[in-house]
């Protein structure tokens, strides 16, 4: 049997995933991470994007996270998501709207805008859309 590790994906508001996994992909700030069991202990921040989990029966599960922390122990991985909703629950329209709003804010440079937050908002909206499209493709097959 293939080696597995225990994976927990939690956000402050709810528990999202808990169970064994063969592999996990996460968008770390220093680059995307692919984690296999027996990884060295690591603590990192993750960017907005999707966390992909390969379960023992080779199924893939996607979760959108808008940033957070990732803790890795040899036998366990914990994703502390800032807001991790199931991708199917994300309102596509809301994501588009957020993107438009953010783009508008960037175009209109006269106002007092915190560009760092706006950019983060954009990155988040884009990542949300990507997660939805990926999920749609998967369901369409």
């Amino acid at each position: 049997m293939a080696m597995t590790m225990h994976v927990d994906v939690v956000s402050a508001e709810e528990e999202i995933f808990s169970g064994p996994a063969k592999m996990l992909f996460a968008p770390g700030v220093m680059g995307d991470l692919g984690i296999l069991p027996r990884h060295a202990p690591l603590l990192t921040r993750i960017k907005p994007g999707e966390v992909r989990i390969v379960t023992p029966d080779d199924e893939e599960q996607f979760y959108y996270v808008s940033g957070g922390m990732l803790e890795i122990q040899p036998e366990a991985v914990t994703v502390l998501a800032d807001t991790a909703l199931r991708a199917k629950d994300i309102d596509e329209a809301a994501a588009l709207e957020a993107k438009e709003r953010a783009e508008k804010a960037l175009a209109d440079r006269s106002g007092e805008i915190d560009y760092a937050t706006t950019e983060a908002e954009l990155a988040e909206a884009v990542a949300q859309l990507q997660a939805i499209q990926r999920l749609k493709k998967k369901l369409g097959r």
Partner: protein, 286 residues
């Protein structure tokens, strides 16, 4: 028959009040269930993050974060979590009493106090009694998100970073059961990592990017999650306190209605008796 008109009007008005309190009781009961679910849902995160911090305390970080270091107390910060609305019994009053008791002790030692008010009742309270309120947030609704809290918590964390406050506490109502809510005062900063069981081998995490940044992020989230938990717990407490208070109000209204009905019937009977005796004596006179 004009007898007891005032009583009947009064009964009607009490009945209307009872309808309202009954409805509020039922609404509070259903909201309480949901609030309890949210409370349970937020626990895994705090649990996991606490584990990570425990690991951190056992590992030997090359960098010791200020959030983990105890220092001399010159000024303290309090985050007071209250409800937005009243009609929930003595919930907020008990909470403020506990808070004031604790504030007084610091004051006696000559320690300054900064307050962060969460919830409409807390801000109204500190507006009334005074106190250095440095941050405020209210009208968070029944299902607040952690995003509603980030700003206010940050104010206090920044104050801690700058050395403006040396300790940070959170005051909220702990949900013990439907009948019992307990005001709690918990220390948030410096974080009290429990170091009971000692691991013999020494190891440390790899940090990406830098230990300092990662730790700051992690500890900030930890504090935010604790405040969030305090908030959801307080909401569950609020709803259960309201449910109990409204149940008592409905019962009292029922008793009042019974008493008024009794008085009304007595008055009616007396009037009828009087009328009969008048007729009888009238007939006798003829």
């Amino acid at each position: 028959m004009a007898v007891g008109k005032e009583i009947r009007t009064k009964v009607k008005s009490v009945q209307n009040t009872q309808k309202i309190t009954r409805a509020m009781e039922m609404v509070a009961a259903s909201k309480m269930r949901k609030a309890q679910e949210r409370m349970a849902a937020s626990r895994p995160y705090a649990q996991k993050i606490r584990n990570v911090i425990k690991h951190l305390a056992h590992a030997h970080p090359e960098y010791k974060h200020t959030y983990l270091q105890d220092r001399e107390v010159k000024r303290v910060g309090y985050i007071v979590v209250s409800s937005d609305r009243g009609l929930c019994g003595g919930l907020n009053a008990n909470l403020f009493r506990a808070a004031i008791g604790s504030l007084k002790q610091w004051d006696a030692k000559g320690v300054g106090i900064d307050i962060c008010a969460v919830g409409g009742k807390a801000s109204a309270f500190f507006k009334r009694v005074g106190g250095n309120v440095v941050a405020e947030t209210s009208h968070l609704g029944d299902a607040p998100g952690i995003s509603d809290l980030i700003g206010t918590v940050k104010v206090m964390l920044d104050a801690f970073d700058k050395g403006e406050i040396d300790r940070l506490y959170v005051v909220y109502n702990e949900f013990v059961s439907t009948m019992v809510q307990d005001p709690q005062i918990e220390q948030l900063l410096p974080i009290q990592a429990d170091t009971e069981d000692d691991y013999s081998h020494q190891w440390d995490y790899l940090y990406e990017p830098e230990a300092k940044e990662v730790l700051t992020d992690l500890l900030t989230r930890f504090v935010e999650s604790l405040v969030y938990q305090a908030l959801v717990e307080n909401i569950a407490s609020e709803q259960s306190a309201r449910m109990v208070a409204m149940k008592a109000a409905s019962d009292n209204a029922g008793n009042l209605i019974d008493e008024l009905n009794l008085a009304y019937n007595k008055a009616r009977q007396a009037a009828i008796t009087q009328e009969i005796s008048e007729i009888v004596s009238g007939a006798a006179a003829v």
